[in-house]
Symmetry: D2
Subunit: 351 residues, 4 copies
């Protein structure tokens, strides 16, 4: 007899990460989408906000208050930053056994002081914040398996933390000389309706934003510092590129001692040996964002600069999959005891 | 004990339809990709021509002559038009039991005279041409199940034949008043290296081509005429749009008698009842190509024009999936006795 | 001594047509931009809404009420449909000598009853509506030269009226058999902030809208009927394509008598002989929207369908130039006695 | 009486920079395009290779051998790297008074040894190489005015040299800590027909290339070292982005002494005071490539990083205008004694 499927709720199903969770969960053999919430769209069918689900049976959109959290095995929270912590505190209070994967930034910073500094207000669920596990499976796999609340990281941070943490841990690069130039597709900016996200504003152009000061830096600081066992403050500049999906991060690092690109490559090869979703290219080969589009893979490349001691590490992900919803499901798989790759083996859609 | 997997060869694996076949077959539970051919790239790994398969085990590319056709259960031919017929004649001669799904145009016209008229030379495998079944599962399902050679139709024709054949069969539209304005994404033009397909030539613009005379018309003529039981010569204009994937076909038809858009909608609803890959939208709703991107679904909509008796029927597919490789696998599923939807239920990648 | 420059006001300078007027007027040798209005942005510099004017001296944005209409020689109104008529009534009342080019739809329909039927409310400046001249220079040149108020047509209508009016006037096509399939770049949808205009919603896809009933049809009806000297109700379907600029209109027509594509081509050649902005291609050649991008040119092509008596006429413009602001300036040139092409000879930006 | 127009030849008119030269020269009031060459297209009209010149009178394309160099005042060479030096040697030998603006890389490196090292063969016109002036008007204006041969720099180098040379000259940044992450639109890769430039390969993705070693570095080295009066080896990584036009360069620098972003900004403001084509934004504001599209302007921005002593300098140009053909015409204006901005004041085409 087939095991009963896990009952899943997706809170915040009308944004891009919510839609992507639904796309992936619908073809996951061990789960059942049992509830979808979207406050402003409550009462509407999912096809109203995402017509690509035409013909697929899905629960109607409801308000968060309408669901009974004790009914579910796991809830994904794809809600706006800032408001999520209150929602999750409430859910956790009502349903002690409910597992939660949060896709917002609310529980990603372990230090309440850092949270307050970067977000401008005190955290409203400090106890849960302490309990939350940072949801990078390749780094925190064991902790995630036992976690009740996982703070699943976002696209910029996933793509750069996975590229540099092994190098910082191994001490092969200088923590004070990190420059990260990252480029994101437009879906990374969310589905909020703003003039500067209109097609005609964005197409046929490229620009940086949040230069010098961007909230994602706080997560880079946290994870880089943990890995280096000292404070690390990297330079990080995000850009928006005229494409739907993809994070493309170019990391400029300096090696320590006499290490070169080959050493950097070897550290990454060792660290990610057997990892199902990390595709380390042969040294000198350059990833392209289009080759991970729609997939949960991260492609990673290492190239020597012409100047000795300088190395360029490039990583790329699909911001909605490995950079958001795919990774969230990878976390779910660990938390519910499923095979880690279940429902996530779809290959990149190229061209 | 699990049944042995069917052994599959993909001939012509370095083009877009070849790559798409591999993408889909790799995640199909009942098949094994046992050979990949690509003449100019023979000896290279598949990742050389399609880097999105990095890390995936696949046979090396070989020349067609290097494979033994008796070894396979089914071969897909994703080879250029014109040369395919000789290759298939040879394969069929050597391996009588080999099933073949041909993605070229070579066997799509049942009438050798029509073939010669449209392609400018006599068909070189006339016996096989007679035997070949036109691979539109929704129309020729029973014939395909028994076929040895299926001529799987292309993107423009699939998208328009599925929209209009039910209406012509039912006699609800006038066969002499059909105008089809179709728009294709650039992958529909193939991977051939030509100046007019460069990004900078194509992006930020739109144009028609093959106006007044395009080889795909021959298939529309054949299938429309069969459906209407009289000669039908539709007006058809293909366009290229600056996107990777998608066929978007706008059909302008006139109803017969007193029929209106509701009648047109009802005929389609009846015809496609229970079809897994046809998503007929409620009357008045308009499909969008983005909502089938990466999937094997066809979205279909019917809207009344303001002038009585005029109806607009819109259909859209992903040209590489339902318009090529997905449909080819749908044919394979029928020919090998698998569930028709096996390996093809991936949902659209939106955004 | 150089003649004094004409003083120009641009009302509604923060939308795309307003920005395009400013771009073109800044390089027009006979005019001076003397005022710019934008209600919500009043008090801001123009570079706040259009950073591509960085470093260019321009008047600050003000509210319409802040300008004195007697101060200007001519005002462009790039304001929303519906509210424009009240604004213009007021301007005309205060400044009898002010010439006005209106880019909205408010004065394009000569018949108040037609206006009311299509727009759902009575026209609020009926006297001016009677006086307004439809601003297609190639058709109404003499009337425009004498006009005080010109209703400059929009992109879809300009592109299709210029393609078909000569043919309807000459009686060479059947007025009851017109199908127009038109595709627009996203800037044609304006700068309004709506979810369905976000980059990630629009990119990599194509869709029709307003199918069966679209307000632009009313202008097509008016001009086609005038040309044919009988009522004409064409079928017209607009689409949105993932590009910034461009209207690409494919017209399916049937000839009368024994006329063929050559006759259609000849009628157009005669009609547009010497016209500076109409580029009629040799028969059989197909326009591309990219070849008019950024320019005031309209490219026009005629191709015979394979079926006798059926002809495909294709026209393309840049929706913001010949389809909006360039045409408005062409009207201004006529109204102020300047050379018609002044300030408008910029060539297409390709690639 | 109007002065006679200068007679101009464009050698290599069928590539993107050639087409862009023609687009701009056609609207330049003081020149006449007297010859166009394109070897493979000799005998064809210019509209065959660039249909956006439909209806414009232009000389037919001829082979280089067919033109008499003594007939022209100035020749633009938009020919492939490597072969240009022989062509120019021949032209200069035949026509001592002919002025030449070369858009290739052949004469950009002053040091023959550096040329040989980077290009793998000895320079074949060493005397001319010594004479050639590097064509950055904002830096070498006086030399260009007197030059017979100007080596007009390309898009990546123009965009980054103009951003950093003033800072290196002023000693305000550390020459050993320069990281340049640059992104180019696809027209920057030229009109050569290669698979990796097809629309479907390129669209919806982003990638780096030439990582660690790219020929443009040699020009950066030359100009940076001249400015710093010592050897400078910057890290430079070019990327290709899915857009037609635009270079977007993000420069990561470290200040010297106690200098901060404000000092960096002030140095640039002083250096570029009164420059017609340099738009320095207020400190903290970020350029966008779309706001220079189609124009000869360079936008420049300075932002402080959160870490003291680190500054981000961003510059953007249209690669075909300020990054190629516009700059070449700016050089021509200086060489022929015309106003420097003549024919180059077209504003950016946005959206």
């Amino acid at each position: 007899m087939a095991a009963a499927k896990a009952k899943i709720a997706v809170l915040g199903a009308s944004g891009y990460t919510g839609g992507e969770l639904v796309r992936l969960l619908l073809r996951h053999p061990r789960v059942e989408i049992a509830a979808l919430t979207a406050d402003r769209h409550a009462g509407e069918p999912m096809t109203k906000v995402f017509p690509h689900f035409a013909g697929i049976a899905l629960p109607q959109l409801v308000k968060i208050e309408e669901i009974d959290p004790t009914f579910f095995d796991l809830a994904f929270c794809a809600l706006p930053h800032g408001t999520t912590q209150v929602v999750i505190k409430d859910l956790a209070g009502k349903a002690a056994k409910l597992k939660i994967v949060d896709l917002s930034a609310d529980f990603r910073l372990a230090d309440p002081a850092a949270y307050e500094r970067w977000y401008g207000h005190a955290h409203q669920a400090v106890e849960l914040q302490k309990e939350a596990v940072y949801g990078l499976c390749e780094i925190y796999r064991d902790e995630i398996k036992k976690a009740r609340l996982v703070a699943s990281p976002g696209c910029f941070t996933t793509t750069s933390i996975l590229a540099l943490v092994p190098l910082l841990e191994a001490g092969v690069i200088d923590p004070d000389q990190i420059v990260i130039d990252s480029k994101s597709g437009m879906s990374g900016a969310g589905r909020g309706v703003r003039e500067n996200m209109l097609f005609a504003e964005v197409s046929e152009g490229l620009h940086a934003y949040g230069v010098g000061h961007h909230r994602h830096m706080s997560e880079l600081d946290q994870e880089f510092s943990l890995a280096a066992k000292r404070a690390v403050v990297a330079t990080f500049t995000p850009h928006l590129a005229p494409m739907n999906r993809g994070i493309y991060a170019t990391h400029y690092v300096r090696t320590t001692g006499n290490a070169g690109a080959a050493d950097v490559h070897r550290v990454l090869a060792d660290y990610y040996k057997g990892e199902p979703f990390i595709q380390l290219l042969p040294i000198g080969e350059v990833p392209q964002s289009r080759f991970v589009r729609g997939s949960n893979y991260l492609q990673l490349g290492v190239v020597a600069d012409r100047a000795p001691g300088k190395v360029i590490v490039i990583s790329t992900t699909d911001n909605l999959v490995k950079g958001a919803s795919g990774q969230a499901i990878q976390n779910m798989n660990l938390m519910l005891g499923f095979p880690e790759t279940e429902g996530l083996t779809q290959l990149a859609l190229f061209p």
